[in-house]
Symmetry: C2
């Protein structure tokens, strides 16, 4: 159905035009991901020979730390280095994504006339597989389309969004001065996902305190240094004035060089592929679940669980067993 959407453009042609730098072709491919189109199967096949080139940088942080301004500054800096840059703003359409969203999206239009820049918000609202299903496939489109650098900015700040940002080659966690309480509350999570901490708005009071707090939290004081592991670095920026951006890119490159020397880049990409395969397999299994049982029988199982006649484990067993046949 919805044949009109492609308007005669077959998938191979769309991919060729995307690789040729046509933003509308790229956008249409990403729409196919958002719509969970059946044609994604063909898209994946057409992209396969072309993937693995892009450097994927994840970017996350609380509302108000300057994520979009930083993304914009990074775009400009990478453009100055001659790179083709894509921005994927993953927006789960959460009701609580914070106030700055719309304005910043507009600000990104600084780059609107630059053919070497592609910017796209993506929502996976309503799709069963959610962000973990849609994001890797969108990244695959951008990678296959030949972008050198892909910035993935997550708008929401929950479990799914953090997972998205942490699945990049290099993950930047943004902070701003005066948000020390949040750091305290959350240290466990931050320690794990950040490859590089960016203390943005570093011209404000308290920037050095934030850096010091971070250092203490990370145990960078010199007490212990695990020789094999990457020690997250800390970079101060004022993205709105484009200060510190070159240093940030230097750190990103340093992290990339470290990953390559240790084989970590390949491991991360394999992990991402595993997640992607699993998400597609699970979505396909979910579909089969519905097929095998029909809506009526699933609904009866749910009623039995509500009434207490059975429990959800027994109900799940019933479904899984039948799938084995």
């Amino acid at each position: 159905m919805a044949v009109g959407k492609g308007r005669g453009a077959d998938v191979g042609d769309l991919v060729a035009r995307a690789r040729d730098g046509q933003a509308r072709a790229v956008a249409r491919l990403i729409s196919l991901v958002e719509d969970a189109s059946p044609r994604l199967r063909e898209v994946a096949a057409a992209l396969a020979p072309h993937v693995g080139h892009a450097q994927i940088i994840g970017l996350t942080g609380s509302p108000g730390v300057g994520k979009s301004t930083s993304t914009s500054a990074l775009v400009r800096a990478y453009r100055a280095r001659g790179k083709r840059v894509a921005v994927l703003a993953v927006d789960p359409s959460s009701p609580f994504s914070g106030g700055a969203l719309l304005g910043d999206r507009v600000r990104m239009q600084d780059h609107a006339t630059d053919a070497g820049v592609f910017i796209r918000s993506m929502s996976s609202r309503g799709h069963l597989g959610g962000l973990s299903w849609a994001t890797p496939q969108a990244l695959r489109v951008l990678d296959g389309a030949g972008f050198d650098v892909i910035l993935v900015e997550t708008v929401g700040v929950g479990q799914a969004e953090v997972k998205v940002a942490s699945a990049a080659d290099t993950t930047l966690v943004l902070l701003a001065p005066g948000m020390g309480d949040g750091i305290q509350a959350a240290k466990a999570g931050i320690l794990e996902i950040a490859d590089i901490f960016v203390v943005n708005k570093a011209d404000r009071d308290g920037a050095d305190t934030t850096v010091r707090d971070l250092r203490n939290m990370l145990g960078l004081g010199g007490r212990h240094s695990d020789a094999g592991a990457w020690r997250p670095s800390i970079v101060k920026t004022v993205a709105a004035k484009e200060q510190g951006v070159d240093e940030l890119i230097e750190e990103i490159d340093k992290h990339r060089a470290w990953m390559e020397s240790k084989g970590v880049l390949q491991t991360r990409r394999k992990d991402r592929a595993l997640d992607e395969i699993e998400a597609i397999a699970v979505a396909s299994l979910r579909e089969r679940m519905g097929d095998v049982h029909g809506v009526a029988s699933l609904s009866q199982l749910a009623s039995d669980v509500v009434s207490g006649d059975t429990d959800p484990y027994v109900a799940a067993d019933t479904i899984v067993k039948e799938m084995g046949h």
Copy 2:
């Protein structure tokens, strides 16, 4: 393994003691959920005859709107009405859950000496199924343990967290004056999940503007009213001074009465059971995936996807097909 954890207490005994009002037994059952214990199967069976009594109220909103203060005020009000109350604070251990978290958890200890109140933060960090797997099972524990009212407060503000809050019988969305930009940015999501909007901190400037903005957004101005549907109500509170809490409970009761009269309560509970069954079935399928293929063969598929020798759809097909045998 970890037999010592149960210290000889079998699951039937734990459930009996939980129903008897022993907080430690309830806490231990919830820990089994967090740990994704194999004993959950027995727990679910032992709980089944006892579920379906509790009223489940979801509570969500941006950092700073006063979620924990509101939860605490609701606990006090329900206790004054003689109800046993449980609070489940669903905390995905997101790095960015906002600064107020720890302090507010402490404040909740107002209720620490009241045997009719059970308060628990739950993290599902690291578990494959995430919040959608763990939360319904924790609610089932609290429901089966005989609590009259269960407040589910989500700490994070992303896709998974909003889904959790919206799976309650009645979902409260909290706002505070002066956050109008956020409303604008997010109206679509808010319209969908809120049964009742709570404008907290209503003694601050701008409270009436927030209410008016909400009304306009909701089309409550009188232009169209869908006769069959629930029209989200708006309640002003100052939770820190316990103002407006009785009115809020009145609205919650009104919503419950409406749901019962329309059969919506039963539908919501069935939907929740369906989600729960599906999450358990998918987790079980994921396990089987690993069993069927072994780590080596999955890893090879991922490598082939990274190198472009195959694409993730073909890789997922391989897995799903083998599961059919």
